[in-house]
């Protein structure tokens, strides 16, 4: 009972974080704030994905096989490994994306002195230096 309530609560919180992240990406014009909110959104979605693989059995095992276990015991206790493997990939891709985005933001700031998206659009259109 308490466990299912906790999982309900965590799910709602993670979804709130996801939508907060989308809101921030959509409405903030500062590029750094956009990147931060993108990270908040990505991390919330990754945690939600790991939560999908969790199981409501009491002594729950990580998906690591030990010698003293039989296969039936292991299958009855271990969590689902597929979401963890998918999240592992997503984390690496998010890291690569972060490197590239921050590099672009830093270089644009060095060249033009701003990271505001509206100013960047004006500069790109050639309306001001």
């Amino acid at each position: 009972m308490i466990a299912s309530f906790l999982i309900f609560y965590i799910t709602i919180t993670l979804f709130a974080m996801t939508f907060l992240g989308i809101y921030g990406v959509a409405t903030r014009s500062n590029l750094i704030k956009k990147i931060i909110m993108l990270n908040v959104m990505g991390d919330a979605i990754n945690m939600l994905f790991v939560l999908v693989g969790y199981r409501l059995v009491y002594p729950v095992f990580p998906p690591i096989y030990e010698k003293h276990l039989t296969v039936e015991e292991f299958l009855g206790r271990a969590v689902d490994p597929v979401p963890q493997a998918l999240v592992l990939t997503a984390v690496v891709i998010g890291m690569a994306m972060n490197i590239l985005l921050t590099t672009y933001a830093i270089q644009f700031y060095r060249l033009h002195g701003t990271v505001d998206a509206r100013d960047m659009a004006e500069i790109m259109r050639g309306e001001r230096e």
Partner: protein
Amino acid sequence: MRRDVYVAVSFLLAFLVISYAITVKDVLGIAQNPLRTLGEFYLSHAFAHEGLTSHSPEVVTAIVWNYRGFDTLFETFVFFLAIMGALSVLRLTKEQEKSVRDLEAREPHRQMDLIVRATVKLVVIMIVSISASIALHGHLTPGGGFQGGSAMAVAALLLFAAFSKFTLERKGLTLRHTVSAYALGLALILTTVLVPVFLYGGKILQINLLPGETGLFNLDVGEYTAVTFGFLTVFLVLGISEWIFKSVLRREVR
């Protein structure tokens, strides 16, 4: 301002609808007791005695390197492309590099307090050993090359903050060396991937043909080296002082 309110209200509505579907109707099937069929297959087939896999008792590593090996390989390439994109954006010409070096020689040599430096030295040793244990033991316990490399990058950042970039460069950590080490890590991964084809007559990435746990160990070590030195490369380029970079670049722009 009004547009912000519209956006907020529509996101709130979408949030309410989707969270109702997920928590009350349980669309995603969060935290169910019976395993999904796919998870059951992986859990029961990922052991060494099946002869199918890469001798890893850790099921996540077995999935990542054996069943989804190409995905993981291409993920390494995506990381490579991101590092190369960052480097090509921050690239300097020969003359610019020379003027950066002249300006850096004129900059006063600053470093932090003795207490900070001693603490950082101790902590860095611990971080390096923990990251090595995460990476080299990654095929038996949770972890792996990428996680260990990320931890190692944190150690490098600490060193950058406490000592300066120049101290590290004087000790031999120049851009040329880090790029070479990065290439070495990638070469180790490629060799391990290609060895089954040429030595054992198998398919590409069939690392269960290699003796024992050699394949997984090599892939973890290669990923560890690649991630560590990939991050270090970007940090070294970004570690050039802001005013130096700006003055050199602005001169180029005008």
